[in-house]
Symmetry: C2
Subunit: 336 residues, 2 copies
């Protein structure tokens, strides 16, 4: 293995000069830098990560905790993870993958052993048991999602309340008077995952504000459930002309179910969704939707973390404004 002393000797300088040439933490003359760089190239030198971590108290590794549980949309998690890795690399960091399963012990383990410098935690609950731990840790963290109190922590996510509102406002503008929200599976609400509830809040508030009749339906992510909820909606709200779907796997089955029940989208029924853009684009009738911007959330989360690692202050809460794209699934309410 070629080490820093080898490079130093080869370049005719001291090890510290090589180190500084690499880190840029002190000025190096043009000529010296050139010689060092050449020696590094010629010898194929790579600093030893462990030695670096030991000497500098920085591992340049971030931990990413991914959820496993029911009701989370796997491709979204994956896209998020990839975006975290990609962005972390731009800041010369790597990413250690942890599962939710390891729980709080996992978090303290990787921080206490100095394996990682900072943490990104996904799928945060309103009263997440990890909150006290994250507060007490000496290392910075960023949470995806919003707990009941973000005091002393840093959170980021799509503004799901505004997303719910945006969908309803859009439907209201198109003249719809009766709307329904088909939401996440019941267990998601029971766990008090903030984002699901915030969609409901936004949906309901906007409906009330606009004088729309509205109802909310948590729903399992199975095709049968789609059929069921579609039937129930038509039975209970015959005047229904606008639907907001916040349940990724259900989007297509639900549209199918409505069409099989004789409703044309968007002629008879306008459908909007809160979901990743790719998903909204794929159904036969592309769906007007508010994007769940996983990649952007991942990028921004890493950026926040980097600023914290740099000692900067960052806002406790970062809400990404919803971005709605009109596609073919919404239209003006047909006047009876």
């Amino acid at each position: 293995m070629v080490k820093i002393t080898d490079v130093a000797r080869h370049a005719g300088v001291s090890p510290s000069t090589v180190s500084y040439a690499l880190s840029g933490k002190r000025p190096i003359s043009e000529e010296t830098r050139r010689r060092v760089e050449e020696a590094i190239r010629e010898l194929g030198y790579r600093p030893h990560a462990g030695a670096r971590a030991l000497a500098s108290s920085k591992s340049n590794v971030l931990a990413l905790v991914v959820p496993l549980r029911a009701g989370i949309h796997v491709p979204t998690v994956m896209q998020f993870a990839v975006s975290v890795v990609t962005t972390a690399r731009r800041y010369d960091h790597d990413v250690l993958l942890l599962t939710q399963e390891e729980g709080e012990d996992g978090l303290s383990r990787v921080t206490d052993t100095a394996l990682v410098d900072a943490l990104i935690v996904m799928d945060v609950q309103l009263h997440d048991p990890r909150l006290p731990l994250l507060r007490s840790l000496d290392r910075p963290s960023v949470m995806i999602g919003f707990p009941a109190s973000a005091e002393g922590l840093t959170c980021i996510d799509l503004d799901f309340k505004a997303a719910g509102e945006a969908c309803v406002e859009h439907l209201a503008r198109l003249g719809h008077r009766t709307v329904a929200l088909v939401g996440s599976p019941p267990e998601v609400y029971v766990r008090q995952t903030a984002f699901a509830q915030r969609v409901v809040q936004g949906f309901t508030a906007a409906a009330d504000r606009n004088g729309l009749a509205s109802s909310v339906h948590p729903c399992e992510a199975a095709p049968d459930a789609a059929r069921e909820v579609a039937e129930r909606l038509l039975r209970e709200q015959p005047a229904l002309t606008g639907v907001v779907v916040h349940n990724e796997p259900l989007l297509e089955p639900l549209i199918d179910a409505f069409e099989q029940l004789g409703l044309r989208v968007p002629a008879d029924l306008s459908v909007t969704a809160i979901c990743p853009d790719e998903l909204a684009e794929s159904p036969r009738v592309p769906v007007t939707s508010v994007a769940v911007p996983s990649a952007e959330v991942g990028t921004r989360a890493v950026e926040l973390l980097m600023r914290k690692l740099g000692g900067a202050d960052v806002p406790e809460a970062t809400l990404l404004a919803p971005r709605m794209t009109e596609r073919g699934s919404t239209g003006r309410r047909a006047v009876a």
Copy 2:
């Protein structure tokens, strides 16, 4: 930070004794071990990962390279990753997540810097550009999938050829005489991803062996494509009564398409698939399938790696035997 010397002092022993108590690399008296363990507990000691890595030349971290490209089934990748992390933890290892995007440089970076002890590489191509690198690396690796030559490397995957055969044998046993394979998107074949081609080989060989008429249809993973290919199949092979689907996202849309074309499954058409079990279970008609056992592959990959890290020899190729589960989508051919 509490360090090993603190623990040693607290327990009235030397640092090396603490180290050995922790690693078990030399015998420790009952009494001493007790005192050390208590000191560790009382002080909340955690060994510094970097210091360990430096002193022992072992980071206890594995790299996992995940693919990003089109045509791969994201939930499968995710499930695999989770199983790798979970299994790695059982062996006291962590997992560093790398994207395919980083390419060969990424691999050499994490090994040269001694960030990781070993590598797991997914989505291996027949003539994967990373093969020479993996061979030259001084650290063990395991590849998911099979390249043209596994000489000097270690590979593991489902035996896709046998899987293709199993599907056809099953259909043949049920009396079907004309079968078709709806395969992965064309780009997957173009990239020469071995698994896709091996399914074709197995499918074709078994069909020929059983005297069945057969055809193969690579297919985009879009619902429209499902409709198209369904129509084409019926047009070109009117006698078709058995279909093998090796294209996860297409499974449901394809069944829908057949049914919309007036074919009942399994009364008129038997459908089998090669896909994760969860996917086969979810359609209205649960699908007889050969499981793509991502979790098992992940577990086994880590186990292979651990054996290699332990200096043991492992087979170059590990083919997991296909496991078929009969569900509702296949039946005896109706005699005309």
